[in-house]
Symmetry: C2
Amino acid sequence: MLQAKGEKTRNEIIECAKDLFYHKGFEATSFSDIVDAAGVNRGNIYHHFKSKDDILRAVIEQRLQEFAALLASWESQLADPRARLIAFVHMVVARQDELARYGCPIGSLNTELGKDRPVLQHEARKLFDLFRDWLAQQLALLGVAEAGQAMAMHVLGRAQGIALMAHVYNDSAYLLRETTQLEDWLKQL
Amino acid sequence: MLQAKGEKTRNEIIECAKDLFYHKGFEATSFSDIVDAAGVNRGNIYHHFKSKDDILRAVIEQRLQEFAALLASWESQLADPRARLIAFVHMVVARQDELARYGCPIGSLNTELGKDRPVLQHEARKLFDLFRDWLAQQLALLGVAEAGQAMAMHVLGRAQGIALMAHVYNDSAYLLRETTQLEDWLKQL
DNA sequence: GTCTATAGATTGATAGAC
DNA sequence: GTCTATCAATCTATAGAC
């Protein structure tokens, strides 16, 4: 990796902020929380980011890259679009513990920002766009894309509802029941 | 209504806080926001509530009463449990504008509190319990309650996923497609 | 019950020496 | 690029006169 000295501090800030924004929420996370977790100097954070909003933009960009890499790995490892759709559901199952504890990092972030931070939410929505377009692409390969992106939105909505309720009730058993049901539905498409 | 003078101020605070917590989020709403909206004096708010958390508890209690009254009205007006389930879906449709703008007041509140306010979230979860138990009751009357509350949780999760995605994309058309689908599914139970 | 005044801590953000 | 020191604003909350 081509990475200057300062990039290391910057990446540590991004990683810590990513976890904090997910675990506490964006508004509830303070600069003190971030510098304490990252172990960097208070004032120094402004050398890398011009504002708290700017840190969030970097966190979103980081998540976009991580999820894009994940989708790319599924595409390269799984030739069958149906298997790829099931890989999406299996991701929810694999992350059941953190989903039950903190909710979906994408859904909860967009929910918070959507209330009164429209500009930032427009950035965060790109995380949904990424999955929506990828799901729509797999559904098109299956030949069930008559309704365009509508079915991709349906799958996303199902997954979000599952993550939200599993979080509210901290209930992994519910998550497993519902993901099994969603998987069965995808298999019979 | 038996209501002393001070109750009026208290109720105005609750009503304004209810809207602000919904429109901005709990953490993002300050005391200044509340007293400005309610038109009451700054320090005076502590005569009625001992803390911001205490205001939220009163707001949750208020919402519990409102929703309980709504469910009771459906029960008295609709004898058929299937019609009652459909009334639940129609509520989502009727509130499509505010859902697309601010998300679900119950889901978004629980999502925020679930991250790091476990005690308050335990209170907010009662709003979900209310709907879950009521849905389970109607499903039992329909004779499809073999799975206990599991199907009620399924319906709630579907509704939450719909509200969340409609909010993220500010998309009422999606909400209408999905609620129609959910209604059709309930009709054929 | 209502009001003014303000405490005490924390917020996001800056300036400038090293 | 890192550090100390600190800004002005805002936060929740309190004290006490009326």
